[in-house]
Symmetry: C2
Subunit: 260 residues, 2 copies
């Protein structure tokens, strides 16, 4: 089965677009939607252990699926261990997120990416899709983005998931068209020049807002450069599980310890 | 400066033990504590953008530091961009966590690890320390663990952080003694055999608890094997930023796309 989820919630335009692309490639009987019942942005990979979860089977205009009261990672957990009991998940598709998830910093806190990371820790391959649009400016863009998603899924269906890759992180630019190119890239470490805004409350006590604005320059070959400067589709492969021999040897040297 | 943080909160025994080890190696004027004002376990790398943060300067029995109303990642953010303005952070130490953070699945949702991941995305090296104790059974163990932490920090202070490594994830077993060995290892994908418990509320409607119990067997050379079976200290190096040429080439082949 192909599991479709996201962090914007089951009623979002992006999940509907992703579902259609998945059905076009894998067939309607092979695609199931399990997604949060509302937005869960920046949830990271948190799992809900401290309170019970509710699950509703719901009918959207274009599809039916399961809506949960949990996070994207909870949705994958529920799909694996309860909702699809007996059927295995071959691939997890997350998105299409409303907003980009480019740079290491962004993917580490992204709910969209967290769903596929949770799957990857259970050896299920996954793809996270994000569309770099601001709130309000997305008219027709998800449908255009879905055209590229469908092409990508067709190639993967035909050739197999890239060997050694656990997750593909795909970012689609806001000016998307049929001609937009695909570029395989690495990660910019951080998208934002972060800063903190200091304010005072009515009693004169300080409080703080975390804030950030995008950098103007990005490294060559990075997802941020491809997405925001070149305005092309940025595809970054992630190998979740690797600890290279080189890293182990270097750590063993510094700490004067054995490799297990 | 050396930044000490955690996800159990500034009043926890583990952060006090870690602070003392850091001061013994780097000196009292070079270590600063910025930690949550209470427990933030399983917070992942979420950042608090939607509400303001409070910061208090507090005096503990053994140290003084800043307590924030945010997550561990928020603490690093606040330290970098406000509280240490003008001084750079050379190393982030997170922990000593009450409970293990072994396996890919665990580190992806760990608040302890998230603090150093956030730092790594800003090119600051970090070490996450966790002690595999259950609630209640920790008498004197944090102090014993801190002895190993101090030795590790001394070696790193002397030789430098392992080249190419962004983060060290250190898990210390519950039967810790001076003789416990250090082993450099890779990651078990998932610590738990997960499952879902289905219940019915008084009105007969279903709800679910996410649950899991540890596996009995782990792969050779993994953190879970070293920590839970061999009962030694498991040290796993993480390279946060890498996308290898091999992964890029393989992805480019499957998707018939250029490398950026």
């Amino acid at each position: 089965m192909i599991l479709v989820t996201n962090d914007d919630g089951i009623h979002s335009e992006g999940i509907s677009a992703l579902y259609k692309a998945a059905v076009a490639v894998f067939g309607i009987n092979n695609v199931v939607v399990v997604a949060p019942d509302g937005p869960r942005s920046a949830s990271g990979m948190s799992l809900t252990f401290h309170k019970p979860l509710r699950v509703e089977h719901i009918e959207e205009a274009d599809f039916s699926g399961f809506a949960t009261s949990g996070t994207p990672a909870d949705c994958v957990f529920m799909a694996m261990y309860k909702l699809l009991k007996g059927k295995s998940i071959d691939l997890i598709l997350s998105g299409i997120n409303h907003g980009s998830n480019a740079s290491l910093q962004s993917i580490e806190s992204s709910g969209t990416v967290s769903a596929v990371k949770f799957g990857a820790a259970h050896r299920i391959k996954g793809i996270a899709f994000s569309l770099a649009v601001e709130m309000g400016e997305h008219k027709g863009m998800f449908a255009k983005a879905a055209g590229h998603v469908e092409k990508m899924l067709k190639l993967i269906e035909k050739t197999g998931f890239p060997r050694g890759v656990d997750i593909l992180n795909v970012n689609i630019p806001s000016n998307i068209s049929n001609k937009t190119k695909w570029k395989i890239c690495s990660f910019e470490p951080a998208l934002f020049k972060d800063f903190v805004i200091e304010r005072k409350d009515p009693s004169g006590k300080k409080y703080y807002w975390l804030a950030g604005k995008p950098k103007e320059q990005f490294g060559a070959g990075t997802d941020c450069r491809v997405l925001f400067v070149d305005k092309e589709i940025a595809i970054s492969p992630i190998e979740l599980s690797s600890v290279s021999a080189r890293l182990k040897e270097e750590t063993a040297r510094v700490l004067n310890a054995e490799i297990a």
